[in-house]
Structures are given as structure tokens and as C-alpha cells.
């Protein structure tokens, strides 16, 4: 596989797995044809369009959910990642009720303000995109590759070294804080959309929070 093709395949990761399986080879073939001879990476505009296309295809997958829910999901993911990275130390204090602000103060754990700010900007951008592009047309559901094992088809994503794991189920996305492998400290179930942003249920018996209100002002009722 040429370096170009390897890069193309990497870019295709922006698309949902089911979509990749269905269209991946075709798109890569077109991409290879569209890239001028001798280049080791696709054209910048092709790269941009693939990433955007991938995000759109992912957004289209969740068409069953309304735009508002998509928006909330994006913000919720932001909340989780933010809390997880900023507040691993703060989490204990936070859940114990010592931190009464909706969001732990920036930089309180020595987490630099700048990356946090950037992260916030990314979250806002994602939320904005989710709102702007609720869909790319009629609902498109790309069948997921079947899991070999039975049970719920959850996908789990945990950035290396991150205290946060994000789990997605097809019908109901679930975001989970995890500090030890397989042990969920916090999980947020988004199926009940109205409740979704207000409540973090702690699965560990150590903590309980109810009525957690994140910083989304006046989000519309569903």
C-alpha cells in the first residue's frame, strides 16, 4: 500500500464504520484518481472535504434523534471530556458537593487554561456543526458491522491515558467516566433527552449527584 493510500485510509476513519465498509474502497479509488501523480498526501481540499463528509455521515446516522438532541449530545460529550480531563482530582470534591459551581473552575487542577479553552472552542464548534447540519438528506443508517458476541452493541472509546471513556450504543448513547478499566464511575444516559443534561448518575456507590446542571443556558424542551 502506497503512503498516499495509507493516508487516504486514515482519513476515511472520519466516516462511520458501516459507511466505510460500504463505500470506503470506492471513495479511496476516486481519491487516488483525483490526487495528482507523485503526491504523497491528498490535496488539502480533499482532506478537508473528507473530514467534513465523515462528520456529516456520522450526524446523519443519528437522524432518529432530533437536532436538539444532537446538539446536546455534542455538548454532553464536551462536558464529559472537560470534566474528565480537568477534574480528575476535582471530581472527588465536585461530587462530594464541595464545588458548587456548575463547572469546576478553569485551571483549578493545574490544567492549563489555554488547552482547556481550545477544547471548549472545539466543543462549541461541534455543537454548532451538529445544529447546522442535522442531516445530509433522508435518514441514512449504515449497518454496523455485526459484533461476534451477543449482548449490547456498545462501542467504547477511551483516549490513551484519559480518565474518560465514551461509550456509544446505537439507540442510546451513553457516556461513561471510567478511572479503572471496566469500572464506571459516572455514566450519562441520554435516552431521556430532557433529563439528559440535568443528571449524572454515579454508578459507583461512593457518590451520588442529582440535578447536575451544566452550562447550557435555556436549552429548549424536547
Amino acid at each position: 500500500m502506497s503512503p498516499l493510500e495509507r493516508r487516504c485510509r486514515l482519513l476515511m476513519r472520519a466516516y462511520p464504520a458501516g459507511y466505510r465498509r460500504e463505500r470506503g474502497d470506492e471513495i479511496i479509488a476516486t481519491l487516488l484518481e483525483a490526487t495528482p501523480e507523485g503526491r504523497r498526501r491528498p490535496l488539502a481540499r480533499d482532506m478537508r472535504a473528507l473530514i467534513m463528509g465523515g462528520l456529516r455521515a456520522r450526524a446523519a446516522q443519528h437522524r432518529g434523534l432530533t437536532t436538539a438532541v444532537n446538539l446536546r449530545l455534542a455538548v454532553m460529550a464536551g462536558v464529559c471530556i472537560y470534566l474528565g480531563t480537568v477534574a480528575e482530582g476535582d471530581l472527588d470534591r465536585f461530587v462530594a458537593g464541595e464545588v458548587d459551581r456548575a463547572v469546576p473552575a478553569l485551571g483549578s487542577s493545574g490544567w492549563p487554561v489555554l488547552p482547556t479553552g481550545l477544547l471548549m472552542a472545539v466543543v462549541v464548534a461541534v455543537a454548532w456543526l451538529a445544529r447546522r447540519w442535522p442531516a445530509t438528506g433522508p435518514a441514512q443508517r449504515w449497518p454496523r458491522p455485526r459484533r461476534r458476541s451477543g449482548g449490547t452493541a456498545r462501542r467504547r472509546w477511551r483516549p490513551r491515558g484519559s480518565p474518560v471513556a465514551v461509550e456509544f450504543e446505537r439507540s442510546s448513547p451513553v457516556l461513561t467516566f471510567t478511572r479503572e478499566k471496566g469500572v464506571a464511575d459516572v455514566s450519562i444516559d441520554s435516552q431521556a433527552a430532557a433529563r439528559l443534561m440535568r443528571e449524572i448518575r454515579l454508578e459507583s456507590d461512593k457518590y451520588t449527584i442529582r440535578e447536575y446542571r451544566p452550562w447550557v443556558p435555556n436549552h429548549p424542551p424536547v
Binding site: G53, T66, Q140
Partner: protein, 132 residues
């Protein structure tokens, strides 16, 4: 939870202006079905280089147009070990394309004919109109 978005309503309303890339993707398929890269080339050539579709944009558009029933998959073949799919216009697609062409021609006429009309009828200045 199911609710069609404003986007859907806007896209499906008849008479809504088609965006230029969409128009040229459909126009590229007017003669015969084409595969991905051929659509990109043909659209670029037809628009005199103005519409240069990125690969991702093309496939997003094809997904959408297929979903709307304007374009359909015509054939699938293997070319040098890679899958190649050809897309063609449906009847609905060519009707939509022609409707859009008619709409643009109409819109163009407003300007071209207004230009001639203005030349024929000189505009009076405000000074002359105002009663002294």
C-alpha cells in the same frame, strides 16, 4: 423523537434553488452514467473550471441525491482490483435538473431584459420630477 428538521423541509420544497455543485453533479450525468472521478472531471469541464468538487463533497452529494431519488446506482464493476460504481440520473433527477435550468433561465431573463428596458426608457432625474 422523530421529527423532520427544517433542513428536510427546505430541501424538499419544490422550487428551492439548487446549489451549484449539486446542479453540476446532475448535469454531468445528463448524457450517460458516470463513476466518481468522471463526475468530478465532467463537472469541472462543464462549469469551465469553476466547480472543482472534492472527493468527500462529491460522495456527500451523491448520498443525498440518491436518498432524494434523483440519482441511482447504475452499475458496479471491478476495475484493477477496485470497486467502481456508476451513477445515473433517475427520471425524477432529470426533471429536477430541467426545472432548475428553467428557473435559472427565468432568473437570467429578468436581468438581461431589464437591461434592455432601462436603455430604452431613460430614467428621469429627481430634479425634473419634483414640482418647483
Amino acid at each position: 423523537m422523530h421529527r423532520s428538521s427544517t433542513y428536510d423541509r427546505r430541501m424538499s420544497s419544490p422550487g428551492a434553488a439548487m446549489r451549484e455543485p449539486t446542479y453540476f453533479v446532475l448535469a454531468a450525468l445528463l448524457d450517460r452514467p458516470l463513476h466518481g472521478y468522471a463526475i468530478i472531471k465532467r463537472a469541472e469541464q462543464m462549469s469551465e473550471g469553476r466547480v472543482r468538487l472534492a472527493t468527500g463533497t462529491l460522495y456527500t452529494a451523491l448520498d443525498r441525491l440518491t436518498g432524494q431519488g434523483l440519482v441511482r446506482l447504475v452499475s458496479e464493476e471491478m476495475v484493477s482490483g477496485r470497486i467502481r460504481r456508476c451513477y445515473g440520473l433517475t427520471d425524477e433527477g432529470s426533471a429536477a435538473l430541467r426545472a432548475e435550468a428553467a428557473r435559472m433561465a427565468q432568473a437570467a431573463r429578468i436581468v438581461t431584459e431589464a437591461g434592455r428596458g432601462a436603455a430604452a426608457r431613460p430614467v428621469r432625474s429627481r430634479r425634473q420630477v419634483r414640482p418647483a
